[in-house]
Protein backbone atom coordinates (compact mmCIF):
# COMPACT_ATOMS: atom_id res chain seq x y z
CA UNK A 1 0.00 0.00 0.00
CA UNK A 2 1.40 3.37 -0.93
CA UNK A 3 1.90 6.24 1.44
CA UNK A 4 -0.96 8.14 -0.18
CA UNK A 5 -3.32 5.18 0.02
CA UNK A 6 -2.34 4.79 3.66
CA UNK A 7 -3.67 8.30 4.15
CA UNK A 8 -6.89 7.21 2.52
CA UNK A 9 -6.52 9.47 -0.48
CA UNK A 10 -4.70 7.23 -2.92
CA UNK A 11 -6.30 6.74 -6.29
CA UNK A 12 -7.64 3.70 -8.00
CA UNK A 13 -7.90 1.62 -4.86
CA UNK A 14 -9.99 -1.40 -5.65
CA UNK A 15 -10.89 -0.13 -9.09
CA UNK A 16 -8.02 -1.02 -11.31
CA UNK A 17 -4.51 -2.43 -11.13
CA UNK A 18 -1.80 0.17 -10.80
CA UNK A 19 1.89 0.25 -10.25
CA UNK A 20 2.66 1.57 -6.82
CA UNK A 21 5.80 2.89 -5.28
CA UNK A 22 6.47 0.77 -2.22
CA UNK A 23 6.57 3.00 0.81
CA UNK A 24 7.55 1.22 3.96
CA UNK A 25 5.57 2.29 6.98
CA UNK A 26 6.38 1.91 10.62
CA UNK A 27 3.83 0.72 13.14
CA UNK A 28 3.22 4.33 14.14
CA UNK A 29 2.09 5.22 10.66
CA UNK A 30 5.26 7.07 9.82
CA UNK A 31 7.71 5.97 7.18
CA UNK A 32 10.36 3.87 8.88
CA UNK A 33 14.07 4.03 8.22
CA UNK A 34 14.91 2.37 4.95
CA UNK A 35 18.29 0.73 4.59
CA UNK A 36 20.26 0.78 1.37
CA UNK A 37 19.28 -2.79 0.50
CA UNK A 38 15.60 -2.07 0.77
CA UNK A 39 15.99 1.10 -1.26
CA UNK A 40 17.83 -0.77 -4.00
CA UNK A 41 15.17 -3.45 -4.08
CA UNK A 42 12.49 -1.03 -5.24
CA UNK A 43 14.37 -0.28 -8.43
CA UNK A 44 14.07 3.20 -9.82
CA UNK A 45 11.66 4.48 -7.20
CA UNK A 46 13.33 7.10 -5.06
CA UNK A 47 12.77 6.27 -1.43
CA UNK A 48 14.62 8.80 0.70
CA UNK A 49 16.38 7.51 3.74
CA UNK A 50 14.63 9.16 6.63
CA UNK A 51 15.97 9.27 10.12
CA UNK A 52 13.75 11.27 12.38
CA UNK A 53 14.17 12.62 15.85
CA UNK A 54 11.85 14.85 17.75
CA UNK A 55 13.03 18.07 19.27
CA UNK A 56 11.19 20.28 21.71
CA UNK A 57 11.15 23.74 20.22
CA UNK A 58 10.55 26.77 22.38
CA UNK A 59 11.19 28.92 19.34
CA UNK A 60 8.28 27.35 17.52
CA UNK A 61 6.10 27.72 20.60
CA UNK A 62 6.97 31.40 20.79
CA UNK A 63 6.36 31.85 17.07
CA UNK A 64 2.90 30.35 17.40
CA UNK A 65 2.19 32.55 20.39
CA UNK A 66 3.00 35.55 18.21
CA UNK A 67 0.69 34.29 15.46
CA UNK A 68 -2.13 33.31 17.78
CA UNK A 69 -5.48 34.78 16.80
CA UNK A 70 -4.19 36.13 13.51
CA UNK A 71 -6.81 34.22 11.53
CA UNK A 72 -6.07 34.09 7.82
CA UNK A 73 -2.41 34.92 7.95
CA UNK A 74 0.20 34.32 5.32
CA UNK A 75 3.30 32.24 5.86
CA UNK A 76 6.38 31.58 3.77
CA UNK A 77 8.09 28.26 4.42
CA UNK A 78 11.61 28.25 3.00
CA UNK A 79 12.24 24.58 3.74
CA UNK A 80 11.06 21.55 1.78
CA UNK A 81 7.32 21.09 1.34
CA UNK A 82 6.42 18.70 4.14
CA UNK A 83 2.84 17.54 4.47
CA UNK A 84 2.87 17.93 8.26
CA UNK A 85 4.18 21.49 8.28
CA UNK A 86 1.81 22.66 5.56
CA UNK A 87 -1.17 20.92 7.14
CA UNK A 88 -0.35 22.36 10.55
CA UNK A 89 -0.56 25.94 9.33
CA UNK A 90 -3.26 25.45 6.71
CA UNK A 91 -5.59 23.90 9.29
CA UNK A 92 -5.19 27.08 11.28
CA UNK A 93 -6.27 29.21 8.38
CA UNK A 94 -2.89 30.23 7.01
CA UNK A 95 -2.17 30.66 3.36
CA UNK A 96 1.17 28.99 2.98
CA UNK A 97 3.75 29.59 0.30
CA UNK A 98 6.53 27.08 0.00
CA UNK A 99 9.93 27.54 -1.57
CA UNK A 100 12.85 25.24 -0.84
CA UNK A 101 15.36 28.02 -1.13
CA UNK A 102 18.45 25.98 -0.32
CA UNK A 103 17.64 23.54 -3.12
CA UNK A 104 17.23 26.54 -5.43
CA UNK A 105 20.59 27.88 -4.25
CA UNK A 106 22.28 24.59 -4.98
CA UNK A 107 20.75 24.42 -8.47
CA UNK A 108 21.72 28.04 -9.04
CA UNK A 109 25.35 27.33 -8.11
CA UNK A 110 25.43 24.35 -10.48
CA UNK A 111 24.06 26.51 -13.30
CA UNK A 112 26.59 29.23 -12.53
CA UNK A 113 29.39 26.71 -12.68
CA UNK A 114 28.17 25.43 -16.03
CA UNK A 115 27.93 28.99 -17.39
CA UNK A 116 31.44 29.74 -16.20
CA UNK A 117 32.74 26.69 -18.02
CA UNK A 118 30.97 27.79 -21.19
CA UNK A 119 32.34 31.30 -21.05
CA UNK A 120 35.85 30.28 -20.02
CA UNK A 121 38.36 32.33 -21.98
CA UNK A 122 35.76 34.83 -23.20
CA UNK A 123 36.22 37.60 -20.67
CA UNK A 124 33.60 39.90 -22.23
CA UNK A 125 30.78 37.44 -21.63
CA UNK A 126 31.89 36.30 -18.17
CA UNK A 127 29.32 37.11 -15.47
CA UNK A 128 30.17 38.91 -12.25
CA UNK A 129 31.61 36.07 -10.18
CA UNK A 130 31.93 38.02 -6.94
CA UNK A 131 29.78 36.63 -4.08
CA UNK A 132 27.71 39.82 -4.09
CA UNK A 133 27.06 39.57 -7.84
CA UNK A 134 26.17 35.92 -7.52
CA UNK A 135 23.77 36.60 -4.66
CA UNK A 136 22.12 39.43 -6.60
CA UNK A 137 21.60 37.14 -9.60
CA UNK A 138 20.15 34.46 -7.33
CA UNK A 139 17.64 36.88 -5.84
CA UNK A 140 16.60 38.09 -9.29
CA UNK A 141 15.09 34.66 -9.87
CA UNK A 142 14.03 33.67 -6.37
CA UNK A 143 11.91 35.03 -3.51
CA UNK A 144 9.83 37.00 -6.00
CA UNK A 145 6.85 38.06 -3.91
CA UNK A 146 5.17 41.44 -3.43
CA UNK A 147 6.47 43.63 -0.63
CA UNK A 148 4.86 42.99 2.80
CA UNK A 149 3.29 39.71 1.69
CA UNK A 150 3.83 37.60 4.77
CA UNK A 151 3.02 37.54 8.47
CA UNK A 152 5.60 34.88 9.22
CA UNK A 153 8.61 33.30 7.57
CA UNK A 154 10.11 29.92 8.46
CA UNK A 155 13.78 30.34 7.64
CA UNK A 156 14.98 27.27 9.57
CA UNK A 157 18.82 26.96 9.70
CA UNK A 158 19.34 27.89 6.06
CA UNK A 159 21.49 30.96 6.62
CA UNK A 160 24.29 28.71 7.87
CA UNK A 161 24.49 27.19 4.39
CA UNK A 162 24.49 30.29 2.20
CA UNK A 163 27.61 32.27 1.41
CA UNK A 164 27.73 35.02 4.05
CA UNK A 165 27.14 37.76 1.46
CA UNK A 166 24.16 35.86 0.10
CA UNK A 167 22.81 35.39 3.64
CA UNK A 168 22.90 39.12 4.14
CA UNK A 169 21.03 39.78 0.90
CA UNK A 170 18.50 37.03 1.60
CA UNK A 171 17.72 38.53 5.00
CA UNK A 172 17.36 42.00 3.45
CA UNK A 173 14.98 40.54 0.87
CA UNK A 174 12.94 38.69 3.52
CA UNK A 175 12.67 41.88 5.54
CA UNK A 176 10.98 43.50 2.57
CA UNK A 177 8.58 40.59 2.19
CA UNK A 178 7.54 40.66 5.84
CA UNK A 179 4.73 42.88 7.08
CA UNK A 180 5.44 45.23 9.97
CA UNK A 181 4.98 43.14 13.12
CA UNK A 182 5.71 39.96 11.17
CA UNK A 183 7.96 37.23 12.53
CA UNK A 184 10.95 35.32 11.17
CA UNK A 185 11.77 31.96 12.75
CA UNK A 186 15.42 31.06 12.17
CA UNK A 187 17.92 28.64 13.65
CA UNK A 188 21.69 28.86 13.89
CA UNK A 189 24.21 26.20 14.75
CA UNK A 190 26.57 27.13 17.57
CA UNK A 191 29.22 24.88 16.07
CA UNK A 192 29.71 23.49 12.61
CA UNK A 193 26.94 20.93 12.06
CA UNK A 194 28.07 17.34 11.64
CA UNK A 195 25.24 16.35 9.34
CA UNK A 196 22.60 18.01 7.27
CA UNK A 197 19.12 18.13 8.68
CA UNK A 198 15.72 19.29 7.61
CA UNK A 199 12.96 20.27 10.00
CA UNK A 200 9.22 19.93 10.03
CA UNK A 201 6.50 20.81 12.48
CA UNK A 202 5.15 17.84 14.42
CA UNK A 203 2.94 19.78 16.81
CA UNK A 204 2.79 23.16 18.46
CA UNK A 205 6.04 22.73 20.38
CA UNK A 206 7.82 19.86 18.66
CA UNK A 207 9.92 19.77 15.54
CA UNK A 208 10.91 16.63 13.70
CA UNK A 209 14.58 16.68 12.78
CA UNK A 210 15.23 14.66 9.65
CA UNK A 211 18.70 13.63 8.57
CA UNK A 212 19.03 14.30 4.85
CA UNK A 213 21.69 14.10 2.15
CA UNK A 214 23.89 17.20 2.23
CA UNK A 215 22.65 19.86 -0.19
CA UNK A 216 25.34 22.43 0.57
CA UNK A 217 28.16 22.40 3.09
CA UNK A 218 27.78 24.72 6.08
CA UNK A 219 29.47 28.02 5.28
CA UNK A 220 29.64 29.80 8.57
CA UNK A 221 28.88 29.57 12.27
CA UNK A 222 27.28 32.87 13.25
CA UNK A 223 28.07 34.44 16.58
CA UNK A 224 25.38 36.25 18.50
CA UNK A 225 26.64 39.69 17.47
CA UNK A 226 26.71 38.69 13.80
CA UNK A 227 23.14 37.43 14.03
CA UNK A 228 22.08 40.74 15.52
CA UNK A 229 23.83 42.59 12.70
CA UNK A 230 22.12 40.42 10.10
CA UNK A 231 18.71 41.24 11.55
CA UNK A 232 19.54 44.82 12.52
CA UNK A 233 16.29 46.17 11.02
CA UNK A 234 14.14 44.07 13.34
CA UNK A 235 12.85 45.52 16.56
CA UNK A 236 12.96 42.39 18.71
CA UNK A 237 15.01 39.22 18.83
CA UNK A 238 14.36 36.26 21.10
CA UNK A 239 16.73 33.32 21.35
CA UNK A 240 16.64 29.83 22.78
CA UNK A 241 19.63 27.53 22.83
CA UNK A 242 19.05 23.82 22.96
CA UNK A 243 21.40 21.19 24.35
CA UNK A 244 22.12 20.18 20.78
CA UNK A 245 23.85 23.55 20.30
CA UNK A 246 21.12 24.78 18.00
CA UNK A 247 20.04 28.34 18.63
CA UNK A 248 16.43 29.10 17.76
CA UNK A 249 15.72 32.75 17.15
CA UNK A 250 12.63 34.82 16.53
CA UNK A 251 12.89 38.20 14.88
CA UNK A 252 9.94 40.56 14.98
CA UNK A 253 9.86 43.35 12.42
Amino acid sequence: MSFLNKLGIGTGAGRSPRREVPWPMGSNGRPRVVGPTAAAAVGTARVPELREANRVSNGLKELLWNLDGLGRGTLLDLGPAWQTTLSFFIERGFRVSSEDILREWKEFLSEEEAKLRETAGRTQEAPDVSPAGRAARFLEANLRYPVSSFDAILLWDLLDYFEPVASKQVVACLTELLRPGGVVFAMFHSKKPEGFHRYRVADSNTLQVIASPVLCPAQRVYQNREIQDLFGRYRTMKSFIGRDQLRESLFIK
Partner: protein, 177 residues
Protein backbone atom coordinates in the same frame (compact mmCIF):
# COMPACT_ATOMS: atom_id res chain seq x y z
CA UNK B 1 -19.84 -7.01 -14.53
CA UNK B 2 -17.01 -7.68 -16.95
CA UNK B 3 -19.17 -6.71 -19.90
CA UNK B 4 -19.90 -3.45 -18.15
CA UNK B 5 -16.19 -2.73 -17.94
CA UNK B 6 -15.77 -3.46 -21.64
CA UNK B 7 -18.66 -1.23 -22.51
CA UNK B 8 -17.14 1.53 -20.41
CA UNK B 9 -13.79 1.32 -22.15
CA UNK B 10 -15.51 1.41 -25.56
CA UNK B 11 -17.40 4.45 -24.48
CA UNK B 12 -14.15 6.12 -23.57
CA UNK B 13 -12.70 5.34 -26.96
CA UNK B 14 -15.71 6.89 -28.62
CA UNK B 15 -15.42 10.01 -26.60
CA UNK B 16 -11.81 10.51 -27.57
CA UNK B 17 -12.54 12.98 -30.40
CA UNK B 18 -13.61 15.36 -27.65
CA UNK B 19 -9.89 15.91 -27.07
CA UNK B 20 -8.69 16.79 -30.57
CA UNK B 21 -5.28 18.06 -29.51
CA UNK B 22 -4.44 14.85 -27.76
CA UNK B 23 -5.70 12.49 -30.43
CA UNK B 24 -2.30 11.53 -31.95
CA UNK B 25 -1.06 10.52 -28.55
CA UNK B 26 -4.24 8.70 -27.78
CA UNK B 27 -3.94 6.56 -30.86
CA UNK B 28 -0.53 5.43 -29.66
CA UNK B 29 -2.01 4.77 -26.26
CA UNK B 30 -4.79 2.74 -27.84
CA UNK B 31 -2.19 0.74 -29.74
CA UNK B 32 -0.58 -0.18 -26.48
CA UNK B 33 -3.82 -0.92 -24.72
CA UNK B 34 -3.46 -4.63 -25.12
CA UNK B 35 -0.03 -4.65 -23.54
CA UNK B 36 -1.44 -3.37 -20.24
CA UNK B 37 1.62 -1.17 -19.85
CA UNK B 38 -0.35 1.99 -19.26
CA UNK B 39 1.51 3.24 -16.25
CA UNK B 40 0.17 4.42 -12.90
CA UNK B 41 -3.49 4.95 -13.51
CA UNK B 42 -5.48 2.26 -15.23
CA UNK B 43 -8.36 4.71 -15.20
CA UNK B 44 -6.56 7.16 -17.46
CA UNK B 45 -8.36 6.81 -20.76
CA UNK B 46 -6.15 9.13 -22.74
CA UNK B 47 -2.41 9.23 -22.68
CA UNK B 48 0.27 11.57 -23.93
CA UNK B 49 3.13 9.20 -23.72
CA UNK B 50 6.85 9.75 -23.33
CA UNK B 51 8.43 11.33 -26.37
CA UNK B 52 5.25 13.13 -27.45
CA UNK B 53 5.34 16.92 -27.38
CA UNK B 54 2.12 18.92 -27.58
CA UNK B 55 1.42 22.64 -27.58
CA UNK B 56 -2.14 23.86 -27.26
CA UNK B 57 -5.27 23.54 -25.24
CA UNK B 58 -6.88 20.34 -24.03
CA UNK B 59 -10.43 20.30 -22.71
CA UNK B 60 -12.62 17.39 -21.77
CA UNK B 61 -14.14 15.49 -18.93
CA UNK B 62 -12.22 12.21 -19.14
CA UNK B 63 -9.06 11.21 -17.35
CA UNK B 64 -5.71 12.00 -18.90
CA UNK B 65 -2.21 10.70 -18.32
CA UNK B 66 0.75 12.77 -19.47
CA UNK B 67 4.23 11.29 -19.57
CA UNK B 68 5.47 13.51 -22.39
CA UNK B 69 5.75 17.27 -22.82
CA UNK B 70 2.73 19.50 -22.80
CA UNK B 71 2.58 23.26 -23.06
CA UNK B 72 -0.59 25.31 -23.06
CA UNK B 73 -3.75 24.91 -21.05
CA UNK B 74 -5.43 21.85 -19.54
CA UNK B 75 -9.06 21.87 -18.53
CA UNK B 76 -10.51 18.53 -17.48
CA UNK B 77 -13.67 19.56 -15.69
CA UNK B 78 -14.59 16.19 -14.23
CA UNK B 79 -11.51 14.25 -15.12
CA UNK B 80 -8.35 13.32 -13.36
CA UNK B 81 -4.95 14.33 -14.63
CA UNK B 82 -1.83 12.31 -13.88
CA UNK B 83 1.55 13.72 -14.80
CA UNK B 84 3.85 10.73 -15.01
CA UNK B 85 7.45 10.58 -13.80
CA UNK B 86 8.72 11.63 -17.23
CA UNK B 87 6.00 14.18 -17.81
CA UNK B 88 6.74 17.87 -18.17
CA UNK B 89 3.78 20.22 -18.21
CA UNK B 90 3.92 23.95 -18.67
CA UNK B 91 0.30 24.86 -18.25
CA UNK B 92 -2.39 26.02 -15.92
CA UNK B 93 -4.31 22.92 -14.95
CA UNK B 94 -7.97 22.66 -13.99
CA UNK B 95 -9.22 19.19 -13.11
CA UNK B 96 -11.18 17.28 -10.54
CA UNK B 97 -8.07 15.52 -9.33
CA UNK B 98 -4.41 16.06 -10.16
CA UNK B 99 -1.59 13.63 -9.47
CA UNK B 100 1.94 14.90 -10.06
CA UNK B 101 4.86 12.51 -10.40
CA UNK B 102 6.77 14.61 -12.90
CA UNK B 103 7.27 18.31 -13.44
CA UNK B 104 4.57 20.97 -13.61
CA UNK B 105 5.14 24.63 -14.24
CA UNK B 106 1.87 26.47 -13.74
CA UNK B 107 -1.11 26.90 -11.49
CA UNK B 108 -2.94 23.73 -10.49
CA UNK B 109 -6.58 23.75 -9.51
CA UNK B 110 -7.62 20.27 -8.39
CA UNK B 111 -11.23 20.62 -7.35
CA UNK B 112 -11.24 17.55 -5.10
CA UNK B 113 -7.60 16.76 -4.47
CA UNK B 114 -4.01 17.20 -5.51
CA UNK B 115 -1.30 14.65 -4.85
CA UNK B 116 2.41 15.33 -5.17
CA UNK B 117 4.44 12.15 -5.24
CA UNK B 118 8.05 12.00 -4.13
CA UNK B 119 9.28 12.59 -7.69
CA UNK B 120 6.86 15.45 -8.26
CA UNK B 121 8.13 18.96 -8.85
CA UNK B 122 5.66 21.83 -9.03
CA UNK B 123 6.40 25.50 -9.64
CA UNK B 124 3.06 27.20 -9.29
CA UNK B 125 0.17 27.80 -6.95
CA UNK B 126 -2.03 24.95 -5.77
CA UNK B 127 -5.73 25.29 -5.08
CA UNK B 128 -7.73 22.31 -3.88
CA UNK B 129 -9.88 20.79 -1.16
CA UNK B 130 -7.38 18.11 -0.17
CA UNK B 131 -3.65 18.04 -0.64
CA UNK B 132 -1.22 15.15 -0.15
CA UNK B 133 2.51 15.66 -0.40
CA UNK B 134 4.86 12.73 -0.26
CA UNK B 135 8.29 13.27 1.27
CA UNK B 136 10.75 14.34 -1.39
CA UNK B 137 8.26 16.28 -3.51
CA UNK B 138 9.32 19.77 -4.48
CA UNK B 139 6.86 22.62 -4.34
CA UNK B 140 7.45 26.22 -5.15
CA UNK B 141 4.25 28.15 -4.81
CA UNK B 142 1.30 29.06 -2.71
CA UNK B 143 -1.12 26.52 -1.30
CA UNK B 144 -4.79 27.34 -0.88
CA UNK B 145 -7.06 24.75 0.64
CA UNK B 146 -10.75 25.41 0.29
CA UNK B 147 -12.64 23.61 3.00
CA UNK B 148 -15.90 24.41 4.60
CA UNK B 149 -14.37 23.78 8.01
CA UNK B 150 -14.11 26.72 10.39
CA UNK B 151 -10.62 28.00 10.95
CA UNK B 152 -8.87 27.09 14.17
CA UNK B 153 -7.18 30.34 15.01
CA UNK B 154 -5.41 29.00 18.08
CA UNK B 155 -2.29 26.90 17.97
CA UNK B 156 -3.16 24.37 20.69
CA UNK B 157 -3.35 24.62 24.43
CA UNK B 158 0.37 24.26 24.95
CA UNK B 159 1.15 27.19 22.70
CA UNK B 160 0.87 30.76 23.64
CA UNK B 161 1.86 30.60 27.26
CA UNK B 162 4.20 33.48 26.64
CA UNK B 163 6.20 32.31 29.64
CA UNK B 164 9.16 30.95 27.77
CA UNK B 165 12.48 32.44 28.66
CA UNK B 166 13.37 35.23 26.35
CA UNK B 167 16.29 37.48 25.76
CA UNK B 168 16.03 40.95 24.40
CA UNK B 169 18.15 41.99 21.48
CA UNK B 170 21.73 42.81 22.30
CA UNK B 171 21.94 40.92 25.55
CA UNK B 172 23.97 38.09 24.10
CA UNK B 173 22.65 35.52 26.53
CA UNK B 174 20.05 32.87 26.06
CA UNK B 175 17.88 30.39 27.82
CA UNK B 176 18.83 26.75 28.02
CA UNK B 177 15.93 24.57 26.94
Amino acid sequence: MWKKEEAKSQGVAESSPALPTASPAMSSAAAREGSTTLPISGRASACISQGIRIKGEVTGSEDLFIDGHFEGKLNLTNGSLTVGPNGEVKADIFAREVIVRGRVDGKIVGREKIQLWSTGNVAGDLQTERLAIEDGAVLRGRVEIETGKPIDKRFGASAGSGKTGTVSIGSGSAVDQ
